[in-house]
Amino acid sequence: MRVLRALVQIAFLAGTVALMVRGLAGLTPNTCEAYCPFGGVAALFPLARYGQYTCRLTELNVSLMVSVFVLTIATKKSFCSWVCPFGTVSEWLSRAGRKVVGRSFHLPDRPDRLAMNLRYVVLVGALALTWTVWKGDLGFRAYDPFYILFTWGGHGTAAFSFYILFAILAAAVLVPFFWCRYLCPLGAVMDPLSRYGGLRIRRNPEACTDCRECDRVCPHQIPISQEIEVTARNCTNCLECVVECPEKGALELSCYGK
């Protein structure tokens, strides 16, 4: 399972890096933002109001946004742990951090739950500014670590953008999925859909020995050992819990309860 997921992650990351290299070499005017599903969200208001796009957004952003929403309804937030190149980089950094520092850091439960709501603040702020102050320009680019990293300071970024990027990457070394967990606006949009995701981890209480290994390895701190079916909005179906579970059949993927 791990190998399969790693292969999919590498494929999408390699595609994004190839696009970045082509862009830096001046071989294509396209950047990663042409394939960003959040661009579809940013395009919704000008599309509905004026029938025109914002900045460099196109039909592809809207179609990819719809695809990501359908994927989330079908498989929860698997986009985050299987596809998103920034999620992949964050995951690898946190693994490296755990090896170097010996542990990863988590906020206590209550502050953690509160901090997760920052994603909604980022979402509302990014969309409101795009649609008002920036007047259709994607001003959020200067603050978007995905865009800054995979264009390496593309159009619209500034020196401070790199400070933001390095701060977020440094935070990801210590706190797993720092950006994804606390700040990603696309994650915030996916939250309500993820709750109803059809493909979920299911725990069989008869086979489970309550060793809580699943709770320990979950990068999103979901208390899997206390659930029968994982409905948590932040489950990305990374399947770490299933891989690490020592009891055969205690944790399995279920598709709409089957």
Partner: protein, 124 residues
């Protein structure tokens, strides 16, 4: 755990679906009607323009052509770098429009060419 294959399969299907559906419809990046009275005869020409990449550059294209008499509207599509121009054939023609947007622009002592037509075709 054979169900795990559902995830990469769904990803593959939805990525292909996204690229396929994106080609089924076309929404303009910019629609800019000039403030002129619509003449009796209007013709359209489509240019594929290197430099028309977004809404900002589309506005630049409009600025370059705004002074030409007979311009009626500009509609751009950033995805394929297309600019469709409606014009009054009694006042201008596609070659004059092309000449206008391909003109060099001086900025801080340096001359730049922001737009270059890669192709041009009349639309009936």
């Amino acid at each position: 755990m054979r169900k795990v294959i559902i995830i990469p399969t769904a990803i593959a299907v939805l990525v292909v679906a996204a690229f396929a559906t994106a080609n089924l419809y076309r929404v303009p990046t910019l629609v800019f009607p000039f403030e002129v009275e619509r003449p009796a005869e209007v013709r359209s020409v489509e240019y594929i323009v290197e430099g028309v990449r977004c809404r900002g550059t589309s506005m630049g294209f409009v600025k370059m052509t705004a002074e030409i008499p007979g311009m009626i509207s500009v509609t751009t599509y950033a995805r394929n770098n297309s600019a469709i121009v409606e014009y009054d054939p009694t006042l201008t023609d596609p070659d004059s429009i092309r000449e206008a947007f391909e003109a060099l622009v001086e900025r801080e002592g340096v001359r730049y060419q922001y737009f270059r037509a890669l192709s041009q075709r009349d639309i009936d």
